[in-house]
Assembly symmetry: C2
DNA sequence: CGATATACTATGCCACGCGAGGTATATCGT
DNA sequence: ACGATATACCTCGCGTGGCATAGTATATCG
């Protein structure tokens, strides 16, 4: 269940979480929870990295006297999601290689 | 192409490479090359970790005056491959979440 | 009135991928 | 004859990155 396999999907999940509409840290974690658990100390560095990479932009909004940061997917971020769909083909080839039954034994 | 996504598949790929018959480091790298590139400094630590975890056993064989280490998949290792097939279902759910078109915009 | 939910941040550990470099033999091209 | 390439193993050390821990601050719920 730890599945470090999922670790390769962390970034892309965050991008997916803000695909439909802008969102903020706490909500992103809740939204993706059905698919994977991500702690805050994992998410926020990812958000900062994605921002630096130009995949999203940040906008601070006052909320209950505190700042809430809304993240918005950029065109580059959207492209990243498309690239991911392409890369997935290679991933599936690896998957099929792995589950392919040995030709003889077992 | 760097695709840290593939990093989650490194271990499992190595196990798959010795699934049909025992193999050794250099050959494993060549065998999985069509699917992913793995450097030696990545593979050998993985092999040691998999051995410590009991997923494979090692046997040294003299070859051209040098030792060649053959790696053999254990039952535990075979189980790991089966577990992987199960975990993959969760991975596919994440994949579908990511590529699912937003309900409204875009 | 303490616990829980909301919401963001900083610090520091440890796992790990991988580049770089080391050793040694065999083979192949020129 | 000799350098390059392939085979085959190994170690060291850097940088990235996931995540536990802990801190700050408000609102709500039992």
């Amino acid at each position: 269940m730890d599945t470090q396999l999922k670790r390769g999907l962390l970034d892309i999940c965050v991008l997916a979480a803000i695909k439909t509409e802008d969102s903020y840290g706490y909500k992103i974690i809740k939204d993706i929870k059905p698919y994977m658990t991500m702690s805050e100390s994992t998410l926020y560095p990812i958000l900062r990295r994605l921002e630096e990479a130009g995949h999203l932009t940040v906008r601070s909004v006052e909320h209950n006297g505190r700042l809430r940061k809304y993240y918005h997917l950029t065109d580059a971020g959207r492209q990243k999601l498309k690239d991911f769909a392409e890369e997935w083909k290679e991933i599936m080839e690896i998957y099929e290689y792995v589950i392919r039954e040995g030709n003889d034994n077992e």
